[in-house]
Amino acid sequence: MELLNLTAVKLAEKIKAGEVSAVDAVQAVLAQIEKTEETYNCYVTIDREGALAEAERVQREIEAGNLTGPLAGVPVAIKDNMCTQGMLTTCSSKILGNFIPTFSSEAVVNLQKAGAIIIGKTNMDEFAMGSTTETSAFGATRNPWNDAHVPGGSSGGSAAAVAANECFYALGSDTGGSIRQPAGYCGVVGMKPTYGTVSRYGLIAYGSSLDQIGPLCKDVTDCATIMEVIASHDTKDSTSMPREDYNFTEALVDDVRGMKIGIPRDYFGEGLDPEVAAAVKAAAKVLEEKGAIVEEFDLDLVGYAIPTYYTIAAAEASSNLERFDGVKYGYRAEDADELHRMYKRTRSEGFGPEVKRRIMLGSFVLSSGYYDAYYLKALKVKALIKKAFDEAFAKYDIILGPVAPTTAPKLGESLSDPIKMYLGDIYTISVNLAGLPGICLPCGLDEKGLPIGLQLIGDCFAEKKLIQAAYTYEMARGAFEKPAGREE
């Protein structure tokens, strides 16, 4: 159906012009969900009645001229680690299997104020810990390009829902690549903003110093538009950074003349699939032909980002996940007759294996006697990694590379060897450690017909340069293909 192929911004324009209604849009998405959700499993919760009722209300507001923004009336999917008032929020975990928040996260509130209609909550790796969406307690999500493959993770449900037309755009969260990598695997656009740009209020924390909310969507114009709506300074998040300029759509300019783009040689070393390397290099060539100055350079410490990240993220996770104890919300183990036994059994039964693995590692690296050797060491290496990026951004406007070493792996191939799975994060995680913005957009298909993701990384607060370069590339590339198996 043609309506479903519209971008979020184009759909909103048609709604504003009275050509279609918000109710039509929600009905179209629900019909698509009816057709394909059984195969892809993008959602944990689908709120059919709520979305239709909200669509009617929003439509009236649009007609009354009260809602005039560029996303008014457009259906959106929200990753299930963002609190939504009155709507189940599980983090894809048994331990939060029945949790209904009494408030909404700030990013969701910002969307709702702009007239977004929430279709439901998308599947994810449990507590955002994973790269495939296979650690979800509610079953794996499948890649709409080929349902034998994973959609990536942890925002795999959000990426797959956009690719499968089961929503017009989605929110995800990115702690080590969890927006950008699934965007790459599913052939959609995903952006992780500079740390502190989108409020984390109401985002169920994994690694608080690394987590950022961002959009997964159909093109760069949607990306900039969604960013403009969700980014805000929020006093409820003490790490929220006030910014001078939130006009991200101003950067939708088809021009990279004179822009300096650096390609780290270390991003093209061992482990990178040759087809991915070729597609990303070809994308760099396109930007060069559009007038950018493209150079290779040596970015220090690339390989050290992964051990640094897993130390810091596990430490923060072990602390953040202490709150799940069976007292105030969520799952409680039955028959525990004493408080501490209840805590232990609740957590042991409620968390899945990957979450337990990271909580244990985090507890260990923070424990007395090991704190200096592991946790503090990682924080020092983080400072060195940040410095390496500072040096790179003294020379370049943008760093260009792949988003992941391969295209989407098959289901069932990743979880048996955690370290091998963690190595797949090599191009994304240093961006979180340094707090930088990154965008991923599709730049080709491999022999198997799976999308290849191009990643652009900017200096802190340089989202507009990223958007401009990504938009310019997108204009030159033209419309990207759609998943072949998708019914329209």
Partner: protein
């Protein structure tokens, strides 16, 4: 350097993490943690003498605001999420 995680260490970590692991889970955890620590040990190749640990990427200091109530009383809805409640309070198993 190959790390070996002893039974005592896993027990201790279990206490810190408030997790009760089965025998099989313990064996798996010992192996996984040893592998991860071997991997993390490569950080010791880097000289970090005189490097300040970076906990936050921006020079943000404590952010203060007046302690003013801005939300209403939503305790009934909050307590609704509790596995067990009594008289609008959380109910837990005996504590001693």
């Amino acid at each position: 350097m190959a790390n070996v995680i002893s039974d005592e260490t896993i027990e201790y970590v279990g206490i810190l993490a408030k997790l009760e692991l089965s025998g099989e889970e313990k064996e798996r955890a010992k192996k996984d943690m040893a592998d991860m620590l071997d991997y993390i040990d490569q950080l010791s190749e880097l000289d970090t003498t005189d490097v300040e640990p970076m906990s936050h990427i921006f020079p943000l200091h404590n952010v203060f605001r007046e302690d003013v109530v801005t939300n209403g009383d939503d305790s009934a809805n909050t307590v609704k999420n509790a596995p067990q409640e009594k008289d609008n309070m959380f109910r837990v198993p005996r504590t001693f």
